[in-house]
Symmetry: C2
Subunit: 344 residues, 2 copies
DNA sequence: AGAGACATTGGCATCGATAACATTCTCTGC
DNA sequence: GCAGAGAATGTTATCGATGCCAATGTCTCT
């Protein structure tokens, strides 16, 4: 027989009944054969598959979905940025979903405000996703968000917990403590901090961890500066810190900002790490090639995405009590941007 | 009346007939009212909207799609990487699609081989997308790819042209010529090149542009080195170039590799730009904060994504002859990593 | 041999919305 | 005052696959 799509039917794509006719069975049997249902004779299944192949048949997703009520699609709400972290998490999500036979529909939002997030969630709901991964820091919930997440299994990454949502977080505070402690261990009297924007949960958590570490060691806590994750904001804050004589160690809440900080320090004639040590956060690929290479906190982003999907699919398949919030451990990567405190 | 979802019907989500009943009209009228059809009295439309609101009704996408044959979804095939460029293009696509009322379904592929791309395309086809944006460099086509792209309007970004595909490209060769010429203008005798991996179209185009510029100026063309876009590969190639005495100018095919190159040069005791000038490609956000800040080629990635969608929607709505291939101009951004050639 | 247990298959209603066609109603112009 | 255009709405068939139930067919056990 021909390879594909021969034996035609007026140009329109072949349907299940067409396959059934060619295979000499009922449409129902075709459905079962294709779904891998056990009660179909091997011989029959073979006939069906042959017919499918001959006609170049593909199941119609819309019809399937309508009839079965299942879409085999999960939705991801994510912030539209070029941040390494978001891209990495999304990678992990897509891989794992694909392997499990689920499609991924993404709804990006340009801002973090409640309304924008509601919108993204709505769009996903309209597409009939079976589960949602909220990969945005969710500051304020709203009744609408609560409602949407209640009616669809949802896993939140790195956010605050709403009632209906399982949560998956990287322990930011712990990581920040580790970073800070690393600097203290090197003999620095205290550690300064440049945080992310106030409205991000991660910012607060990292700031808290930093502060906790300092307090635990009985050191003074300098006033934190605030950036917006961008290298530019790091640069501007770096210029400020370069003017303050006491500064010997800085914990920066993201690698990109750290690049900016280091550049500002250089321009001010300060050497890193000889005069000032810098620790970043994220371990972006370029961190190793900064000069000096950047000591930072590596976060298992892809793993996180993968975990989120696993979690979500379990919830979809066996709706039950929420699994325990689970957190994943970040890791300190020591490179060349940190050294023992300069002698005073 | 209550706000939402009161007046319930056995827990199942409200359908169009439910809305129709509440509004006291036929289901068809509801459909028309919601679709913004002109021939509906204002009063009627208002009644419908009120009922929709009261029941918390949402259109069922699967049913819509089945019935109308339209999915209002476009598919994007993209390579799974954390490269800035891909993320930026995707951003542009998503924004524009959203504004035009289309959903975006992404199919990532982990490799560039034909089979992987066929797979990604299939997955999208199964979801019934109305159009496809191929945002991967497509080296070898295949009959299956031809077939899939023929049956669905497709726009290729930065790829080679298949018969059924409209193409949208950044003029890489031109950009590479500009970059190379910039270095020649600064008095460098010749320019070395670190390219991307051989199987990427962009690599070849950038390399060709570089070579053309050198030949046009009657300079010798040094053997090009090959990287894999990663900073690490730039570093390794940088170590090699640092050993070659004549090298005074390097055109690197991506910013990330350029970071690696600069670091390698530093380690070898060479100063940038005093001893060696470096030009990158992409203008990632960090380029400005490299030390020295990186001269590079800025590409309008987001704009590109947006353009792709516009293009695609036009083709979906008015299938006709393929629009002319269109290319967008990149721009040279001069920063501190390039300077006049050192005196010999 | 007869009765049930089980495997395999087909028939038909159904999911929720839309398209095509039919119908009613309201004007306009002669 | 009436034909006929055109607006507003309703009726019915249909999209393609699946779920439920019934109808066979096959096997095993007494």
């Amino acid at each position: 027989m021909g390879k594909h799509g021969d034996a035609d039917l007026g140009g329109r794509p072949p349907g299940m009944t067409d396959v059934a006719r060619v295979a000499g069975v009922s449409a129902q049997t075709v459905s079962r054969a294709l779904a891998g249902h056990p009660n179909v004779q091997e011989k029959t299944r073979a006939k069906v598959l042959a017919a499918v192949d001959q006609l170049g048949y593909r199941r119609n997703n819309a019809a399937r979905m309508l009839s079965s009520g299942r879409s085999r699609t999960i939705g991801v709400v994510t912030l539209q940025t070029n941040f390494y972290s978001r891209a990495a998490v999304t990678s992990g999500i897509e891989n794992t979903a694909r392997e499990s036979g689920y499609a991924v529909s993404t709804a990006t939002t340009t801002s973090l405000d409640t309304y924008a997030i509601e919108n993204a969630l709505s769009r996903l709901a309209d597409q009939g996703v079976e589960g949602i991964i909220l990969s945005v820091p969710l500051i304020h919930s709203s009744s609408r968000i609560e409602q949407l997440t209640r009616s669809t299994p949802t896993v939140t990454i790195d956010g605050s917990r709403t009632d209906a949502t399982a949560i998956l977080a990287i322990d930011q505070a712990q990581a920040a403590r580790t970073a800070t402690q690393h600097l203290l261990d090197l003999g620095h009297e205290t550690v300064w901090h440049i945080s992310g924007p106030a409205e991000w949960l991660e910012s607060a958590q990292r700031r808290d961890g930093w502060q906790a570490a300092l307090e635990a060691a009985g050191r003074t806590v300098p006033p934190p500066l605030e950036g917006d994750w961008s290298p530019g904001s790091g640069y501007r804050n770096g210029l400020v810190l370069a003017r303050i004589p006491d500064v010997t160690a800085i914990f920066v809440a993201s690698d990109e900002m750290a690049f900016g900080v280091i550049r500002a320090l250089h321009e001010a004639g300060l050497r890193v790490p000889d005069d000032i040590s810098v620790v970043g956060f994220d371990d972006i690929e370029l961190a190793e090639y900064c000069s000096p290479s950047l000591t930072t906190i590596a976060q298992p982003f892809e793993h996180m995405g993968a975990l989120a999907v696993t979690h979500l699919l379990r919830r979809i398949e066996a709706p039950g009590p929420l699994p325990e919030p689970r957190s994943v451990e970040p890791r300190l990567v020591v490179r060349a941007s940190t050294a023992t405190a300069p002698r005073r």
